[in-house]
């Protein structure tokens, strides 16, 4: 059985002692000593406040931290967590910290948590991000409750964030996923989610765990799998968007995320090719009403670099982009940085042509994705320049318009997708 290789004897022993559970919260970690105490504390508070009668377990799957993260989880004192709670859990709160085996990466940690959830027949599972300190007991409860009480299979978080924040999400991944999968999911890259045992079993049956997708792009794959399968999905407002401490350089981050998105779309092509338009997902908990600040940059440095990058990459872009798109981009790059307006239709055509080039394999796939990065920065810079002083509602409308443009041009993508040699 797969469980034998994923779960160590020690973990199996612990889980057998725990028995069946109602709520399982999994926290994958790797050197998160700075934030893990707060996360564990929030989990215990959530168990005590919102699930006092449920059988609960917290599983920390650690990738080999050398900063004492597992010890911090094991030694998080009850007093530390419970003095702040109003009510106390009526059942024993189990807490297990265990290393996972195999290649370091969130995929293996998630696989271990899901395997444990399947073994303990957990009714509701929540996976948290150990890298943030802003997680609240209410946020954890809002990920669990729709599964436990409303029979949803997958709960995606919605963060309160300024619409100019996170351009990789708002300019590329969100509208692309929305147009393709036909669901208006706001945070497809969120590292936190809630899910049902049915969804867990489905995920464990897939063959991605030992692949590159399982190693670096598991969050996006989980979202795609939920949207493409016959699962009941919803969204829930959890907290302000967490400020992560990720130090991954931009190029590497961009490559990982876009490669994963393209790989997911290729994997789920049979599902999304038949979808038209998009539907909204139910929001089970409203967004927190905290205020958020706009990013400090106006994108001017990004647009200034765009023209130079485009000229440098001309020969790489030729086999990827159509002549029309390349000509439009070249004309755009001839303008002064402050006058560059990378319009929605051109940006969508660029993204779709890159996706088709990825599917056809016109060159090494990692090169295709890397070549998109400077164009993404150009588009981001153009958007930031245009809307840096605009009210939030206007920016939201611009993002909605971009998403609709992705949907409008989807038939072109499908037409060329069918023509592409496999």
């Amino acid at each position: 059985m797969a469980q034998d290789s994923v779960l160590s004897d020690e973990l199996l022993h612990h889980l057998m002692a725990v028995g069946h559970v109602d709520v399982l919260v999994g926290v994958p970690t790797l050197n998160n000593a700075g934030t893990i105490r707060l996360v564990v504390k929030a989990v215990h508070q959530a168990f005590a406040r919102y699930f006092p009668r449920d059988r609960t377990v917290l599983i920390n799957s650690d990738g080999g931290s050398n900063d004492g993260t597992p010890n911090l989880v094991r030694n998080a004192s009850a007093d530390d967590t419970e003095t702040l709670t109003v009510s106390h859990s009526l059942r024993t709160v189990h807490r297990i910290s265990t290393p996972y085996h195999g290649v370091p990466g969130k995929g293996n940690a998630l696989r271990q948590i899901m395997t444990a959830a399947e073994l303990t027949q957990a009714r509701a599972v929540a996976v948290l991000n150990a890298d943030v300190s802003s997680i609240t007991p209410e946020g954890i409860a809002s990920l669990v409750r729709p599964v436990r009480d409303q029979q949803y299979d997958y709960v995606a978080p919605v963060y309160r964030r300024h619409p100019l924040e996170g351009p990789l999400v708002t300019q590329l991944i969100r509208p692309l996923m929305r147009a393709a999968y036909g669901w208006q999911i706001r945070e497809p890259l969120a590292p936190e989610f809630g899910c049902s045992n049915r969804f867990v079993t489905h995920c464990l049956e897939q063959d991605v765990w030992d692949s590159e997708l399982g190693r670096v792009g598991i969050d996006l794959w989980v979202t795609g799998e939920a949207l493409a399968g016959s699962f009941r999905c919803c969204q829930t407002g959890v907290s302000p968007h967490p400020a992560t401490s990720s130090r991954t350089p931009f190029g590497e981050l961009f490559g990982q995320i876009v490669s994963t998105a393209f790989a997911c779309l290729e994997r789920h092509a049979t599902y999304w090719i038949g979808r038209n338009g998009s539907e909204s997902l139910p929001l089970t908990t409203p967004l927190p009403s905290s205020s958020v600040e706009a990013p400090a940059t106006d994108g001017s440095r990004l647009t200034e670099a765009f023209a130079r990058d485009l000229q440098n990459l001309q020969s790489v872009l030729e086999p990827i982009l159509s002549q029309d798109t390349l000509t439009s981009l070249t004309r755009l790059a001839e303008k002064q940085g402050s006058h560059i307006r990378y319009h929605d239709d051109l940006w969508v055509a660029t993204v779709y042509e890159f996706l088709l080039a990825y599917q056809r394999g016109v060159m090494r796939r990692e090169h295709i994705v890397q070549a998109l990065a400077p164009l993404y920065l150009g588009r981001t810079g153009s958007f930031l320049r245009q809307y840096s002083s605009a009210p939030e509602a206007e920016v939201d409308e611009a993002l909605e318009s971009l998403s609709r443009e992705f949907e409008r041009l989807k038939p072109d993508l499908i037409q060329h997708w069918h023509r592409s040699p496999r």
Binding site: L189, A243, T244, F250, F254, V362, P421
Partner: protein
């Protein structure tokens, strides 16, 4: 006297006819070998092109950057080029076999030399093709990495990498084919040494500022790139 002359002429004629009788079958055999060889070479070319099409050689050539070079050099697509190379190798083999049948002493051994040369030629071509693919890969990887890392003059850098690999593999291929081996070795050593020295001097004297900027880019704590000034997630 006249009788002697007549006998000599008759003898020469007889000898000529005998030689012709001996030589004509060889000519016919040679022609037959050449014609049959041509037909076989054509057949093999068709098979090779079909196999190349099935293996999607043209797609691979496009992917590895060989196809644009072929177009620039006004050469046929990769599958047709491969077929043509195989055709000429096979037909040249038959041609030399046919000539060998004629029995010209000066051409004796040509066929053996040719067949000894073919493996070296094929290996040399293979080295060059692999070198070209590697050079193209290295060029594109360097260019993309340099652009995304904001390294100055990315095209110059990636072009230098590409030519370095091409020169190296070109020299290796010529060494394998054994065409003017000493000339190739000497020329390569001089050119490579001169190039390295020129780059070192140019970079040392004139490129201090560029080196400084490159080093500064490697330390994000000291200088943040424009791409990193916003939170992308």
């Amino acid at each position: 006297m006249a009788q002697m002359i007549a006998n000599a002429i008759r003898q020469a004629g007889t000898n000529f006819v005998e030689s012709l009788a001996l030589f004509l079958p060889r000519v016919v055999t040679t022609l037959a070998i050449i014609i049959v060889g041509w037909l076989i070479a054509m057949l093999i070319r068709t098979l090779v092109r079909g196999l190349a099409g099935w293996l999607r050689i043209n797609v691979a050539a496009e992917r590895f950057g060989v196809a644009p070079l072929l177009r620039t050099a006004d050469l046929p697509p990769a599958d047709a080029l491969l077929g043509a190379i195989v055709f000429w190798l096979v037909w040249l083999g038959f041609l030399l076999s046919g000539i060998d049948v004629l029995g010209f002493t000066s051409l004796q051994g040509l066929l053996a030399s040719f067949w000894a040369f073919v493996p070296r030629l094929v290996l040399g071509l293979a080295i060059f093709v692999i070198g070209f693919v590697v050079a193209n890969f290295a060029w594109r990887a360097t260019l993309l990495a340099a652009v995304n890392a904001r390294v100055p003059s990315p095209r110059l850098l990636s072009g230098a990498v590409r030519w370095l690999v091409l020169i190296l593999t070109g020299a290796m291929a010529l060494e394998q084919i054994a065409v003017a081996r000493s000339v190739v070795l000497t020329a390569f050593a001089i050119a490579f040494g001169a190039l390295s020295l020129a780059v070192a001097i140019a970079f040392g004297i004139g490129g201090g500022g560029i080196a400084k900027r490159i080093l500064e880019h490697q330390f994000p704590e000291q200088q943040q790139s424009s791409a990193d000034e916003i939170s992308h997630l």
